[in-house]
């Protein structure tokens, strides 16, 4: 098996994550789609590290994980704050700036 199979799998997972962000309305599910995209890019980083014989790819994937954890904390706090005031977790209902 060639190592590029891992890269194809990563591309497929990234695409599915993108379609989740584009298609779903629930803010929490949209968030999970973003997590899926970050994970897919991590898989690509790990594969690149193995292809080039250099651990820098794994270190970058590690940093992506840490930043993703911080991002999830803030994003979920925003979702909870919006839910408290609007009683809704749908991305379509957060349109206060509209009219």
């Amino acid at each position: 098996m060639n190592l590029s199979n891992y890269l194809v799998l990563s591309a497929v997972l990234f695409t599915i994550g993108t379609s989740v962000v584009l298609l779903r309305r629930n803010a929490i599910i949209v968030f999970m789609g973003i997590e899926l995209m970050l994970n897919a890019s991590n898989l690509a980083f790990v594969t690149f590290a193995r292809m080039h014989g250099d651990l820098t790819g794994q270190v970058v994937a590690f940093f992506v994980m840490v930043v993703a954890a911080a991002e999830v904390v803030i994003g979920l706090a925003i979702i909870v704050a919006i839910y408290r005031t609007r009683r809704s977790a749908s991305v379509d209902d957060a349109n206060l700036l509209k009219s």
Partner: protein, 301 residues
């Protein structure tokens, strides 16, 4: 023939050839990949199609655990462990907590705010997927070098040398970022209390002030054939007390009337009932006759 010459002649075989020599992974890793990859893709598609949010979260957990296994297979055991601990253990559990907080049944509305958004999204996703797969397939000709050299002192040691060597400043910045995120979450979810907290004393005083019932509510009725929660008790005037049945049962319409639980005559004693009824009302047994008799059907409030 010397022993060293014998060793050099031994062919490692196709299954044991290293990645660097052949440019291909071992057969075991190939099997692992082809088992895990369909599971991951199907679970990821579950995120697109799942109606219930908890199912979507669990399918993402499945994808992440499979990714951790792939990391270990790809000579990155440190990242595999971090993936399980950070993503599956912390991030997805945080997602589940927020799901429980926001409401599990918060489902998607099927009304499109932008007409045709769904089809445009599908087309864009497929286009992006085609582009990405095409780009990635150009890396097919790269000869993989493997991580045997970099992982000579075990993988965590090698990763630590890179992190605390070349990327030590980035590590400090990420630490600051994590503290900022923790503080931000505290600030965002903090709610200022606008009025004084209602304690036990305040509740009691408010109840007295509005003239509500001060005593505990009456317990449900106990009858010869039933002492269940849905049978109302009888007041001193013979009327059923609605407040003796839990409010939830009354709202659901599961309250039973007294007629349902009243004693039924045994076979062969029906004539005694007629004798009983023939006596008629006994005068002087009460100034206010019950509005609803204990045998009558009562409306559910």
């Amino acid at each position: 023939m010397s022993p060293t010459a014998l060793v050099t002649q031994v062919d490692p075989g196709p299954g044991l050839a290293t990645l660097v020599e052949t440019g291909r992974t071992t057969g075991a890793e190939e099997v692992l990949f082809w088992v895990l990859a369909p599971i991951m893709v199907i679970a990821a598609l579950g995120l697109v199609f799942a109606r219930r949010t908890v199912y979507a979260a669990m399918s993402v957990v499945l994808v992440m655990v499979c990714l951790a296994i792939l990391y270990v297979a790809q000579e990155a055991p440190f990242l595999g462990v971090v993936q399980v601990i950070v993503y599956t253990g912390a991030v997805m559990m945080l997602f589940l907590f927020v799901l429980m907080l926001v409401g599990v049944d918060a489902s998607d509305s099927l009304v499109e705010t932008i007409s045709g958004q769904r089809w445009i999204g599908v087309v864009f996703s497929l286009g992006l997927g085609a582009v990405l797969v095409g780009v990635v397939l150009t890396a097919r000709g790269v000869a993989p070098r493997g991580l045997e050299g970099a992982n000579a002192d075990t993988n965590p040691v090698g990763v630590a040398r890179v992190i605390f060597g070349d990327y030590v400043f980035a590590l400090e910045v990420v630490g600051v970022l994590l503290i900022t995120a923790a503080l931000g979450a505290l600030v965002l979810t903090h709610r200022q209390r606008l009025e004084k907290r209602m304690g036990q004393r305040e509740r009691a005083e408010a109840r007295v002030a509005e003239g509500a019932v001060l005593t505990p509510l009456p317990a449900p009725g106990v009858y010869a054939r039933s002492n269940a929660m849905d049978a109302p008790a009888l007041g001193p005037d013979g009327r059923p007390l609605d407040s003796s049945v839990p409010r939830v049962l009354r709202v659901r319409g599961q309250e039973r009337s007294v007629a349902d639980v009243a004693a039924r005559p045994i076979d062969g004693t029906e004539h005694l009932i007629e004798v009983d009824e023939g006596l008629g009302e006994v005068p002087g047994t009460g100034s206010t006759p019950p509005e609803r008799g204990i045998t009558g059907e009562e409306p559910i409030r």
